[in-house]
Symmetry: C2
Subunit: 142 residues, 2 copies
Amino acid sequence: MSSSPETKEREEGLSFQPNFDASGLVTCVATDAATGVVLMVAHMNDEALRKTIATGEAWYFSRSRNALWRKGESSGHTQRVIEMRMDCDQDAIWIRVEQTGAACHTGRKSCFYRKIESTDGTTRLSFIDADRLFDPAQIYRK
Amino acid sequence: MSSSPETKEREEGLSFQPNFDASGLVTCVATDAATGVVLMVAHMNDEALRKTIATGEAWYFSRSRNALWRKGESSGHTQRVIEMRMDCDQDAIWIRVEQTGAACHTGRKSCFYRKIESTDGTTRLSFIDADRLFDPAQIYRK
């Protein structure tokens, strides 16, 4: 496996060189700093990344709404960043956070409230850790 | 926040309906089942997802090589899947795995071996948990 000087620098260097995709985004995984549970997977553009670093609160870029978004700005369910890490090729970020309330817009602590299970060749989901911490109809009403 | 019957079913139902993007991929986060450390972020196409479910070993789709890829097929550093979860809108998968050896092609256990740190407005990376478990030049040589 050969690698260019650029790849070597990106993987082994200490320069912050986020590798944005064609849409200008990197993937961000947020985990609960206390439990290690994966809370959500979302995206950051350059501005979201800079605001997250500058403020210590998680900012994302919503692809569906095409808008910068401070986590918790509607719900109050903010994320305080405890640690922020970059992956090898600098196109994914891992943040360990203190989650206020629930991370998921459905009201659950984590977006990953269903297990994938397969029996007899049929794949289904089943609920796990799916208790709601809030009622989305109350929080996001217009 | 209104939601269509399709959105409701995708978020609250128990049907397995992976929401592939325009390239036919979902995002997959792999964490170490024992420690909760995020090992890597990668992608799965329909085939990788089905093979992972069927075999209990992680398969991915490499965007750079445009190829299906069994994790560890070159290095021997396979991932045994302990639990597999789907996120709310079914476009991201979380797998908890037993990692044989190292997850990262650079030889580290995790791809997230650098912290993002900011001082005086300058953002830099610093190594953390960056010990190599193998020498990539030895493992991937042709």
